[in-house]
């Protein structure tokens, strides 16, 4: 049935049958949908069994791939013609190489853990079966994308993930905010997806094929320079990278990712931190030669390129935003965005291996952090994620969650000998060695900021005095996790509380918890803590697969054939030799970030009411403005929703109105503040005359523009048609004139 693309000597059963890995969850999805409701556990057992089966095959494939790399570098391709249209044939199948195997085992493993976790977390949910069905379909989509032998299957998996992401973010759609977050995520990502479709079509135009691997695949042809037009390749890379920007939450399309935290926590942990969002990074890594050559990466004299710049900007702005979040999941979301920025920057500076390795390590510790946040909300803080009102002082009560959180945080911050250190530090180091000094500095600043915001989050969550929901849990009501009756009481108390909880994760579950682990009687049940322990263990040790300080490079050896480019001259640069001196700046900055943040957290949030830092943002206008700027997410959301979305609905008149409302009012406000500070003269002259004059004038202009353009929006279909055809004719005329 499968026509072997290349004559391979026996590569082992698991490698030959890796295509089963996405097929099993795909079948399971239909089983859950059709029979799940009748099953004793609502279909979750089918999902878990399917993911376990996938994981077993993926693990077997990993083992056999490691054996395989001892004597061969060839990928194991198997394809089946899926459909054809005229002369074009599209196949479906598998392209198994190191990168695919790494991602397969990662996704299957984390999906399994998250499904186990979910059995407790969404227990009793009204759409329990659908939740597991969507999770399983998501895994099938991601796995199908990962082993895609061509771009068509890649797009297929990519879109399945987008759909599942939408369904899972909006899982509790009864609350309007969740439904809106789901729509926002979907549309923002779709904006980028246009790039994927255009880019894929352009790949077909440039190379005449959509196959990724093989002698006549995209990678090989790009690496060998078998294309006509370099500029065409450049635009292809740009279009594809726009898709990666959307999916991986890079600047400026990162705004959907924090809102996506409206979904259930297991979803955030699986889709929006460790697997789906790295799809964009994976795309760049998968067809790296296209980007490397198309965007002039590692060309002498080029110190900037599109990918590195976007990645670098993302690191800094997302880390900045993480400081002002009170919602623990949003801190983690921005942290994810920032870490994805590291991966992109790594790819942008030619550090393919460290970037891919960072995908690997980041998945473990970020998944673990999210699951910790879910564990806290589930058990410790009454389904609230607000660190300031409902957490604090949880370390004694929730030892497992606390320890796993700290290990993962250390890994995330890049503390030496934790996994994040080996991957992140190598990205930073490569940026330095490959002569991208600016991005080296950005990476270092990012490391500092990462430690600082994670220290703040850790402090607020686990230390200090327990507040709100956590206070109920920590002080007295010890039987919270066992006694359903006392939970009812808690909820009543909560209902009477004057401070309103932003309960965006209240999942209407009856509160009969499962059994906790024996050594942590107050912590979450074992279904939650067991995945935490496993993941944090991996967060600790995964880095040693590619530990440059100890000259352990197994990971590199397994994956280097996937790059598609030679290492060394004419390809990507050799990885820099590790020296502790080079790692020193980042270690020092990590420690500094920890110290500064701890000091500030202590001063600002607790104990010391008279501290000069308390309420600093309210008193100092400069810091206050910065704080406001961050809280409003750099006003990007206002830009997207206020300008771009509305300008599609009601073109220029609305945009003028927005300018009037937001920009000019903003100008008025800030000038007004300065005015009060500097006195009556400025007040009389600037505020009253200039600014008011400007506002009135621009208001009149906006009205005028609206009036002129309004007849165009007649609502008459024939008028719209005339505009459409007229514009098409004029466009064609311009093209004819330009080309003749």
């Amino acid at each position: 049935m499968f026509a072997e693309a290349e004559a391979t000597h026996a590569a082992g059963w698991f490698l030959e049958h890796a295509w089963l890995i996405p097929v099993i969850p795909a079948v399971a999805f239909f089983l859950i949908i059709f029979f799940g409701k009748k099953m004793p556990r609502g279909g979750s057992e089918i999902g878990i069994a399917a993911m376990l089966a996938s994981f077993v095959i993926a693990a077997g494939a990993t083992y056999q791939w490691i054996q395989w790399t001892h004597h061969s570098e060839e990928a194991i391709d198997k394809t089946l013609t899926w459909w054809s249209s005229g002369p074009l044939k599209f196949s479906i199948g598998q392209h198994i190489d190191g990168l695919a195997v790494m991602a397969l085992v990662l996704v299957a493993f984390i999906s399994t853990l998250v499904q186990i976790y979910s059995t407790e977390y969404v227990r009793g949910d009204r759409r329990y079966t659908h939740f597991f069905a969507s999770l399983t379909l998501f895994s099938a989509g991601m796995l199908a994308m990962v082993l895609a032998p061509n771009m068509v299957q890649f797009v297929l998996g990519w879109e399945i993930m987008g759909l599942c992401s939408f369904m899972l973010i909006g899982h509790w759609w009864e609350e309007e905010a969740n439904a809106r977050a789901a729509l926002k995520a979907f549309f923002t990502v779709r904006t980028g997806d246009m790039g994927l479709l255009v880019g894929t079509a352009m790949l077909l135009a440039v190379f005449g094929t959509l196959d990724i691997g093989g002698e006549h695949g995209i990678n090989a042809m790009a690496a060998a320079g078998e294309f006509d037009s370099k500029s065409m390749l450049m635009w292809t890379a740009v279009a594809l990278f726009i898709a990666a920007i959307g999916k991986s939450g890079q600047f400026p399309l990162h705004t959907w990712l924090p809102d996506a935290m409206a979904g259930p926590t297991p979803v955030s942990s699986l889709l929006h931190s460790s697997t789906m969002v790295v799809a964009g990074v994976f795309l760049v890594a998968r067809i790296y030669p296209v980007f490397h050559i198309g965007l002039d990466i590692n060309v002498a004299g080029h110190h900037f390129n599109f990918i590195a710049v976007i990645g670098g900007i993302t690191i800094l702005i997302a880390a900045g935003l993480a400081f002002v979040q009170n919602d623990i999941k949003k801190v983690l979301a921005y942290s994810t965005v920032s870490q994805l920025g590291y991966m992109m920057m790594g790819l942008g500076v030619g550090a393919w291996m460290p970037a891919v390795f960072h995908i690997f390590t980041h998945a473990f510790f970020k998944c673990c952090l999210f699951l910790c946040a879910g564990s806290i909300a589930h058990t410790g803080s009454h389904h609230s994620f607000d660190m300031k009102t409902d957490m604090g002082g949880l370390r004694k009560k929730m030892p497992v969650t606390f320890v796993t959180w700290v290990i993962s945080t250390a890994a995330l911050c890049g503390v030496p000998f934790f996994s994040g250190f080996f991957s992140k530090d190598e990205i930073i180091d490569s940026a330095h060695a490959n002569d991208y000094t600016v991005f080296w500095i950005i990476g270092l600043i990012g490391a500092f900021m990462t430690t600082a915001y994670m220290t703040r989050a850790t402090y607020l969550t686990f230390f200090g005095k327990a507040r709100g929901g956590a206070a109920h849990f920590v002080d007295g009501h010890e039987d919270h996790s066992h006694d359903a009756a006392s939970d009812e009481v808690h909820h009543d108390v909560d209902g009477l509380d004057t401070h309103a909880h932003p309960v965006h994760d209240d999942h209407h579950a009856p509160l009969n918890h499962g059994k906790p682990l024996p050594f942590a009687p107050d912590d979450s049940p074992w279904q939650i803590t067991a995945p935490l322990i496993l993941l944090s263990f991996l967060a600790l040790v995964a880095g040693y697969l590619n530990a440059a300080p100890f000259h352990w490079h197994s990971f590199e050896h397994w994956l280097e054939s996937s790059i598609g480019l030679p290492i060394g001259e004419g390809g990507i640069p050799e990885p820099p030799a590790f020296e502790w001196v080079n790692a020193l700046p980042s270690i020092v900055l990590v420690l500094a970030g920890f110290a500064v943040s701890l000091f500030l957290s202590k001063k600002v949030f607790f104990n010391d009411e008279k501290s000069p830092f308390k309420g600093l943002t309210e008193r100092n206008s400069l810091l206050g403005a910065g704080h406001r700027f961050l809280v409003n997410k750099y006003y990007l959301d206002a830009l997207y929703e206020g300008v771009i979305v509305k300008s599609i609905a009601h073109p220029i008149a609305k945009a003028a109105y927005w300018v009037n409302q937001n920009v000019l009012d903003g100008v008025v406000n800030s000038v007004g503040i300065t005015g009060r500070r500097t006195g009556e003269w400025v007040y009389r002259n600037v505020d009253q005359r200039v600014v008011d004059g400007a506002v009135n004038g621009s208001g009149a202009t906006a009205r005028g523009a609206g009036g002129v353009l309004q007849p165009v929006q007649s609502g008459k279909v024939s008028m719209y048609g005339a505009l459409l055809f007229g514009a098409a004719a004029v466009g064609a005329l311009v093209l004819v004139l330009v080309n003749s």
Binding site: G86, Q713, G715, K716, V717, S718, G721, F725
Partner: protein, 99 residues
């Protein structure tokens, strides 16, 4: 026969169809004009096919005929629905999109 005589005829029919779509008020008449456009495309496809001596264009022409049949069916159903609700089928009165 020159290729262009067919192509120009197609272009002429196409532009007539565009004019009809834009000026007709009655929804049925707009649908008639759309048929004109679809036919002009078919003429183009078959002319190119005859020039190149292959049959792919014939296949597409058949597809277009099928799609046109579907389009007329749905389009007339919509016109009927509009007529039932409003007692006329003047497209100019359908201006809910007025901005």
């Amino acid at each position: 026969m020159l290729l262009n005589q067919f192509l120009i005829l197609g272009a002429l029919l196409f532009c007539m169809g565009v004019y009809g779509v834009l000026t007709r008020k009655n929804a049925v008449m707009v649908l008639l004009s759309i048929e004109l456009i679809l036919n002009s495309v078919n003429i183009n496809l078959l002319a190119f096919d005859a020039m190149n001596g292959n049959s792919d264009g014939n296949v597409f022409a058949l597809f277009i005929i099928a799609v046109a049949a579907a389009e007329v069916g749905v389009g007339l159903a919509m016109v009927l629905l509009i007529f039932r609700n409003r007692k006329n089928i003047s497209l100019d009165d359908l201006s809910e999109m007025k901005g």
